[in-house]
Structure formats: C-alpha cells, structure tokens
C-alpha cells in the first residue's frame, strides 16, 4: 500500500522541540523503511540511533556539527518552520538538492515576501514596511495603503501578531500590541512591521511540492469561515476546493509564481491566498507563503493514492522520486476544524469529546493543549486547542459535521 523503497536511504530529519509534526514524519519514514538521523534542539540522545543536538538560531555552527557527525545522507528535511534555514544550510554543505538559504530566508520574512513579489509582479495587497515602533510612521503607512488595513509581524505565523485596523488610531494601537507580542516571542525591537491593504474575499490555501521550480499541487483547502478581523483565526478548512476550475488554475499559477519569485525551487510549500472580485472577475492575490507543509496536524486530513500521507510524498520528493500529479483523493471531501483559544486563562476542561467524536463523518478529534496549561488567544498566542477531522461525500457534509462536532465541545478556561 505504501511506496516502500528497495533499499534504506539515509535521511536527515531536523525536528524542532515544539512541533506537531514530529510523529507524522517519523511514521512516514517508518512506513517507507528509511534510515533516519535526527537533528533536534530538544531530543535527548539515549544511545539508540543518532540524535544530533542543534540550535536553529545558530545555523552556521549547527550545520558544521551536523556535517561532522551525520555521515552520508540522501536528503535533508525540516519537519517544521524553525528548522528550515538550518536544513537549507546543511543541504548546501552536503551538495543535496534543496532550496537556496536566501530563498528560505525570503519565505520566512513577510516583508521580504512582499518586496520580492512586488518586484516579480505577483498580485498581492498594497503594502508598506514600517521599520520602527514610531506610531506616526504606522499611521502614515496605514493611510497610504487605505482602510481597513492589516498590521502584521513579519516573523510570526499561524495568524499570531496579525490585527486588522479600521482607522489611523486603531492602526497605531495594533502596532503597539504586536510589538508586545514580538517582545514575548523574543523577537528584536528592530524588527519591522508590515502594514498592508485588507483584501476582502474568500480565502484558500494551496499545498504543493516544488521540483526544480515546477509546482505539483497536493491539496487545496477552502477556508469558508475566515473572520474579517480584528484577529484572523484559521478555523475551518475543507478540501477539495469549491472554486471553479479556471479560478483555481489562476490561484495555483499565482502560488507557483510567488514561490519562484522568492527563489524557492524544491520541497513543500504552503501558500495562502484570497480571491478578490475585480469588476466581476475573480482574481487571486497572495497573502503569505511558507517553505513547508501545511501546519499543525492538518495533513492528517489528507490521503493520496495507495494510502500515502503528505509526509511520505515530501520524503519521496526529497529523495528525488517523482511525485504523482494527483491531489488528495478528489472523490472524497475532507476537512479540519482548528479549535481556537477563545480567551486567556488556564485551560480547565474540554468536555463533550465523546459526543463530538460520535458525530457522523468525524474521523478524529485531538486536543493538543494539556488541561492545566495557560492559554492565550490570538493575536498573542500561537497554539490551537486542538483539531477535529472529518470526511464525507460532499464539502457541505464535511462542514456540517465539523461544525456539529465543534458545537458539542464545552471548553472551560478560568
């Protein structure tokens, strides 16, 4: 059922300490019979297989340590965002096909994304980069892009540090709040902010794999309930997309153009776009792009011919195996409900899980924040309470099942 390899290629998997993605990549590697070497900033060396301690904040030194200790490998994979730059640096040193380090840096910084896309003519919101905490500069930038606008941290993801503002005073207040989020995240005071035009319209995400710049799409998710702000919790994701084929094709072309404009050429991408109505024409515009798979546990909603998972496709692609030109099984609709943190405090209980799991069409429910932990909603927090998964014959049934399951949950935070 899986694409087991004839030999056991050795693969370096870089796993950050705080990730949802470790188990799925390890499972994929096991199913493919790969010989793994792990680099991590959290895993303990226990005398089993190699675990190389690395510091993703110091990619140069960590890459030297890895190349000295890991031996020959056929591919290097970052399991999640914090390891992307280190993976690129290691790949350069080992002569493996990978994205250039500079391209990965471009993708990790929203201001650099905007600048590269502007230079390449990629459709996107009007934007201004504000280099300092000066409230006046933020107000001027917001006035330049028009209201409503969106103020963003350039280095965070998962909608953390993103706020919509309807007027100059709100824009300055949003910038202040985001500075505080950045300080909590350990980011430097000198980091710029992005102020951009708010684009109305439906939102979607496109996942795919690049091979020498050519994009093969693995999944397209509609995000039917993305809020209008002030915060932008991702909640409902449903695949396949309901968009007409020509609009979808234009969105995929835009995502591919955006990836290449950043210099990306290999491996997974996760692109987020909005579809605007311009004079009766549906036009895609880039919001963001990351040089990795879809985040959290969302990839578990996907399955491919032969029962392969997205992580298996990523590993196979990194090993130079062709990626089949097919997406998530188009005969079945699937979806995820990412449970946002509703308010700050200490999580006391998530009740109703059995009832939620029993809703017809629900295939999984995972709560990922332990009871007893402090939680913070967006724009301050960076975690979701958990994930609900569904599969059914139609998109509508998936959406209904996810919503009904969500409604069964009672979250207590005090």
């Amino acid at each position: 059922m899986t694409g087991a390899l004839p030999a056991a290629p050795r693969v370096l998997l870089l796993v950050p300490a705080r990730t949802y993605r470790a188990a799925d990549f390890l499972l994929a590697a096991t199913r493919m019979g790969l010989d793994l070497v792990i680099g991590s900033d959290g895993a303990l060396p226990l005398g089993g297989r190699p675990v190389i301690p690395v510091n993703p904040a110091d990619p140069d030194r960590s890459a030297s340590l890895i190349t000295a200790r890991c031996g020959p490998v056929a591919a290097v994979i970052a399991a999640d965002t914090p390891m992307l730059e280190l993976a690129a640096e290691v790949a350069v040193r080992l002569g493996l096909a990978h994205n250039p380090v500079e391209a990965v840096r471009n993708a990790a910084d929203k201001s650099r994304q905007r600048q590269h896309w502007a230079a390449a003519g990629v459709p996107q919101p009007r934007f201004q980069i504000v280099p300092s905490a000066d409230g006046g500069a933020v107000r001027d930038a917001a006035a330049a892009v028009g209201f409503p606008c969106v103020v963003k941290a350039v280095s965070l993801s998962a909608s953390q540090g993103v706020l919509r503002a309807g007027d100059p005073v709100a824009a300055a207040a949003a910038a202040c709040r985001i500075r505080s989020v950045l300080a909590s995240a350990g980011r430097p005071d000198s980091e710029p902010l992005l102020v951009e035009e708010y684009l109305p319209g439906s939102e979607l995400s496109i996942d795919g794999l690049l091979d020498r710049g050519h994009l093969t799409v693995t999944a397209v998710f509609d995000k039917p309930r993305t809020p209008d702000g002030p915060t932008f919790e991702e909640t409902l994701l449903v695949t396949p997309s309901r968009l007409p084929a020509p609009v979808l094709a234009a969105a995929v072309a835009t995502a591919g153009q955006a990836a290449r404009a950043l210099g990306l050429s290999h491996g997974p991408i996760h692109a987020e776009l909005r579809i605007q109505d311009q004079d009766g024409q549906a036009q895609p515009a880039m919001l963001e792009l990351a040089a990795r798979c879809i985040g959290g546990l969302c990839s578990r909603a996907l399955r491919f011919p032969g029962g392969q998972t997205l992580e298996e496709l990523v590993l196979a692609s990194a090993l130079g195996q062709p990626v089949p030109a097919t997406r998530h099984d188009p005969a079945r609709s699937a979806g995820i409900y990412m449970l946002p943190v509703p308010r700050p405090g200490r999580l006391r209980a998530v009740e109703g899980r059995d009832r939620a799991a029993a809703v017809s069409g629900i295939t999984g429910l995972t709560i990922t924040i332990p009871v007893g932990q402090q939680v913070r909603p967006l724009p301050d927090g960076d975690r979701y309470l958990g994930f609900i998964f569904a599969e059914a014959g139609t998109r509508h049934e998936v959406e209904q099942a996810l919503t009904a399951a969500r409604d069964q949950l009672r979250v207590t935070i005090d």
Partner: protein, 183 residues
C-alpha cells in the same frame, strides 16, 4: 493479493484509513485466510489505533460480508503473529523484566532530565509495551524518544525484542516537557 484482501484493502481506504490517519496511525492488510480471517498490520501510534479495533472490524465486516474476524498485529509479526512466544508466557515475562531493567538503568536516568519516565507494561510476541509518564506524556518529541532512542537501544541489547508499542494516552498528559506549537 487475494480477492478478499483486495476487497478489504478497498474498504480500508474508504472507511477506516481516514480515522486511523487522523489519529496518527496507519493500517494495511497483511493476511486474509480461507476462513475469512483478515490480519491488519498497525503502524505509527498503536495507542491511537487499537482502541478503534471494534469499530474497524465492524466497518470491514459491513463492507465485506465474507470477513469473519479482523486481527490487528504490530509490524513484523505477520498473520501468524509468531515472532516470539505467546503473551504472558515465562519467556515473555522474562523479556519484559529484562527490558524493564535496561530502561531503569540506562533510559530513565537520562529522561529524568526532562521530568520523564518510561515503564514497561508487558510483552507480547516480542513486542514490548511501554507507557511514558511525566514530562514525556504528551511531549511533542515523545515519538523521537521512542523511535530513535528507546526502541533501537532495546533491539540492540535484547535481540528477542521486535519493537515497541507505545500505549501512552498522550492527550491526557498534563505536564509535557515540550508542548507543540503551530508554526
């Protein structure tokens, strides 16, 4: 692949795999005998798959009426499940004890640095069942600790060990050393 195995594989893809993958596991057909007994091999997190056993059997028997029973096995044991002795035999008890001794001597002192502990809860046909506790329960790197650390160590030092089955309820962990974050 026999006709029955092919039908069960198709049924798995339609109605079982989504639930299993959503929980972080995987299953595949490794055997289907003439009496309609189907054997499925479990990969990934067995703790996430085995609780679904009755639902999986019901779904397969509903889709393929020729199926009379469904067995779940860990990787490597195959349809006969004969990698080592039967569960609870003296040999298995001895293997569990040896694993326990090795983990207490070489693994628990190390993972105590992350407030963690691993305990052996049993052995079955060469498979050691473990439970992670403390900082390891629900930790985002628990799978790395098991698959790169504990499992290869046990397999190297105790040749009768086929592999590990993690029976931990990771969702119930209240104090994981590393909590996952969405990036």
């Amino acid at each position: 692949m026999s006709d029955l195995a092919a039908q069960v594989t198709a049924a798995l893809g339609r109605s079982v795999l989504p639930s299993v993958i959503a929980r972080g596991g995987a299953v595949r057909v490794v055997g289907a005998d003439t009496h309609g007994v189907v054997t499925l091999e479990v990969a990934g997190s067995p703790g996430a798959v085995f609780p679904l056993a009755s639902r999986i059997e019901a779904a397969i028997r509903a889709a393929v009426p020729r199926v009379t029973a469904v067995r779940l096995v860990a990787p490597g044991t195959g349809p006969s499940g004969s990698a080592a002795g039967p569960a609870d035999s003296p040999a298995e008890a001895g293997l569990a004890a040896a694993a326990r001794q090795l983990l207490d001597a070489e693994v628990n002192p190390a993972i105590a640095a992350h407030r963690g502990r691993v305990t052996v809860t049993g052995a079955d046909q060469g498979w050691i069942r473990i439970r992670l506790e403390g900082g390891c329960q629900g930790c985002s790197l628990a799978e790395v600790t098991i698959r790169q650390g504990i499992e290869p160590l046990l397999r190297t030092r105790l040749p009768a060990v086929t592999g590990l089955i993690d029976t931990t309820d990771h969702e119930a962990g209240t104090d994981p050393f590393f909590s996952p974050e969405k990036r």
